[in-house]
Amino acid sequence: MAAPNKGRRQAGSPGRPGRTLALFLIAMVALTGGMFWSGHVTPRLGIDLAGGTSITLQAKNTPGKPNAINKTNMDTAVNIIDRRVNGLGVSEAEVQTQGDKNIIVNIPKGTNSKQAQDQVGTTAQLFFRPVLTYAPGTPTAPEPAPSTSPSGSAKPSASGKPQADSSASSKPSPSSTTQGRAVTDALKKAPTPTPTPGASDAPAGSATPDPSATTPPPPPDPATAALEKKFTALDCRDEASRTTVNQSSGPKDTIVACGQDTTGKNWDKYILGPAELDGTDVSKAKGVLDQQRGMWIVQMDFTSGGTKKFQAITGKLSQQQPPMNQFAIVLDGNVVSAPSVAQTLGASAEISGSFDQASAQNLGNILSFGALPLSFDVASTTTVTAALGGEQLHAGLIAGAIGLALVIIYLVAYYRGLSLIAILSLGASAIMTYTIMSLLGPGIGFALNLPAVCGAIVAIGITADSFIVYFERVRDEIREGRTLRPAVERAWPRARRTILVSDFVSFLAAAVLFVVTVGKVQGFAFTLGLTTVLDVVVVFFFTKPVMTLMARKKFFSEGHSWSGLDPKRLGAKPPLRRSRPNLLEEDPPEPPQRRSRVSAAPTDSKEA
């Protein structure tokens, strides 16, 4: 389609400008009518113009699962995040994938963006792992703290501010009497522990009780030695080490992890056995206020399978000596709490720690809705206040108005009367762009953001360029000594080809950008593509017919000095054409193709 469309009509014949124009105007009125009818009279604004928060999550490659980042998993993640965010009662939050590994969460202004932020990035990969040993969270020799009992609770990673825990002691559990912080609903006397299912390499914790359990079991193999080394070197105070230390391990590995103690100030580090349960074993979780202790806890109910596993692990652990009688609740690689177990437990458990209401409810929410199939990094968060957004929109609109005014002034100065056609065409372009953008809001969820506004402004130039190409062609024809009407018709096929080729290049750029890029760039590319297509539509179905009609008007055809088509001004020679009239008034249709000429025929789709 970047080649002239030969089938359309005789190149150079005036066609029926009136009819084309009428059709175009009908389409324009229909679009405008549709816009008003649908009630979306303004384009939907993006976060950066309307205010709100936009969070970009980037899926991380998990080792051992090379193909985890796929469409299915991404869609699952979007659904879960959507449920979490909307579970907060956040209204109109949008969660969508972008590109192949990004998820964008847009939260409009007026909702608790902070809370949502805490929720979205949390993958909620929950594991219950037996504790093998632990130590204060600084690089040390791997010795368990000799006298203190393990700190039982830790601040969940996802919570906001740590709160002073009600249990000031470093006792493992704030539970009233038992040490077992995993409290059963009704302290069900559990049946005898069932053997651990499928734990091939049984955690050291489930080995025969080691009476002198002050040191971890001696390293039997290099892997364990490496683990020891890791454990020794680990500095939990450093956030980066905390997150990277067990990044490469799967649920079946023995890992090193960090957790905060109850005060939320000090870190402990743990060596943990393979996971015995995971988040999928949790059927329901919610943050509740424990009336007795006056603190917020997260209560979990297990599925039937989970209950069995939980009984098994607690049964085993309760036989052990400290510190191996503890199990750690590990959320996203951090130990949330590590209660010790005094008896076999059953169908439910609770996590306590330095929760406040929000963090307890958040964690409950997250655990209920399940773990994300992928882990995500929060790649960027943009919070824009409504005031700032409004300001930016305002500035963008002013810039657009200035740009438009400058272009119009230039066109008027240079093209005089002809510029009227250009201005009308620009107006038509503007109306089309605006209505289509407004309709695309509800249609495909298009939101106008600042880069898109920029794109629209830049497009003013692109659109005007097409008119210039055509006008210059017409003027060239007049310089040849032609009268206006044939000039207009003869100039068209050539100008048309130039316009199509150059617009196709612009469109190609926009399309490529739209496909490969993410985020802000996409909005820009979309606008650029849209305006390029509209440019072609307007030039073909508006500018050209109007030009043909104008050519019949005396003002133009007689070359009034203000028409911009004054032959004298253009320096045309008086025509000496009567000698060969046959060649003048008809443009030979496209010449036969030469050998050397390959005609490209891309894309009628552009006009579609």
């Binding site: 970047a2 700032l388 692109i462 210039i468 290049v505 190609l508 320096g571 060969r580």
Partner: protein
């Protein structure tokens, strides 16, 4: 403007003209110099990458009376990193802190809200992880590569491979210059910059395509005449479309200038400014390269073609012969003869008054139109 119109006419007819192609060595030299400067600037100074590429946070506060120095002290105390504070035109502060994690950034925001005694929700924050910028950059590179491949294929089909190659070189030239300007001046590179840079892609080719289009038309059937050789035709094409190139460039630059003015003048900094700045530089470079680089390159490439070599030989020989006879040399610019009065002497040729901006016999003496159609 009328004088401009007349000049346009004379340019169009080739009465006046500048020898762009003949001086191409000068342009190439100039461009190579600029490119080397740009590359040196990149190598020595490097690009000033914005927060978005290094990871960090940008906070925008509401209008405040607090001083820049005060805000800087507060921000640094809260973040533990260096902070760059700008006061914008509208009395708001823009505070940038590099290498902040999400959690730290939240703390800083809270602290800032306290220091400025405003509601935390009134502070806009843009927090970016270090990997995000990398993602954006990688995607941009991918886009660039994909686009270049596609556009070369397309131009090779629409025109010919030589033009595609020349356009690609011109495009790379524009991008290098733009990036170089950024390195030398030390403008900050943000996603907005990248957007602008990528837009140049489509746009820098616009003018080039306009010139190529007229060149393609003007050189049709060039081997069937002996009045001009290719470079001369190319030069005519440039001159003939000069007004068009200037106009399209000016019209494209005007809205961008509006953006630049508003972005810089009103908002102080931000997306509008970043996009328009790189666009402005790139568009100017694009206009230059379409005239001074792309077309001369095509001519250079084309002149290596044996057919064209032979043509040039013929043309020059003919001129030499004519000169020896004391006739006015072919191709001399005398415009008193009009081809309409001339007999056609090319078999199968129909002398249309082809509106080509290439040489026309009509304009150049007693020749016949070379831009003829069959």
């Amino acid at each position: 403007m009328s004088r401009l119109g007349a000049l346009g006419a004379r340019l169009y007819r080739g009465e006046v003209g500048y020898d762009f192609i003949g001086k191409r060595k000068v342009w190439y030299g100039l461009s190579i110099l600029i490119t080397i400067t740009a590359i040196l600037g990149l190598a020595v100074q490097g690009l000033n990458m914005g927060i978005e590429f290094k990871g960090g946070a940008v906070f925008t506060t509401p209008k405040t009376s607090i001083s820049v120095a005060q805000a800087q002290t507060d921000a640094q105390a809260a973040a533990g990193h260096d902070a760059i504070v700008q006061k914008l035109g509208n009395g708001t502060l823009r505070i940038q802190v590099t290498e902040l994690s999400q959690a730290q950034a939240d703390k800083v925001k809270t602290q800032l809200a306290k220091d400025l005694s405003v509601d935390e929700n009134k502070i806009a924050a843009d927090i970016v992880g270090p990997s995000w910028g990398e993602t954006i950059a990688n995607k941009a590179w991918t886009g660039l590569a994909v686009f270049m491949v596609l556009v070369v294929i397309y131009l090779a089909i629409a025109f010919e491979w030589r033009m595609a190659v020349a356009a690609l070189i011109a495009l790379i030239h524009d991008l290098t210059i733009t990036v170089g300007v950024y390195a030398l001046v030390g403008f900050e590179v943000t996603p907005g910059t990248v957007i602008g840079l990528l837009t140049i892609l489509g746009y820098s080719l616009y003018d080039t395509v306009v010139v190529f289009d007229s060149l393609k038309e003007g050189s049709k059937g060039i081997t069937k005449q002996t009045r001009w050789y290719y470079s001369e035709v190319a030069n005519r094409s440039i001159n003939g479309t000069l007004v068009r190139s200037i106009n399209t460039t000016v019209v494209a630059l005007l809205p961008v200038a509006g953006l630049l003015f508003i972005g810089g003048g009103v908002l102080g900094a931000g997306m509008l400014n970043d996009i328009s700045l790189s666009l402005f530089v790139g568009l100017a470079a694009g206009a230059y390269s379409s005239i001074f680089i792309a077309t001369p390159l095509v001519a250079d490439l084309k002149e290596r073609d044996p057919q064209m070599k032979a043509l040039k030989k013929r043309v020059l020989a003919k001129r030499a012969a004519a000169a020896a006879k004391g006739e006015p040399a072919e191709g001399a610019e005398d415009t008193d003869v009009r081809y309409d009065d001339e007999a056609e002497d090319v078999p199968g040729g129909v002398a249309t008054a082809a509106a080509v901006a290439g040489p026309r016999g009509a304009r150049g003496g007693r020749g016949r139109p070379s831009g003829r159609r069959r």
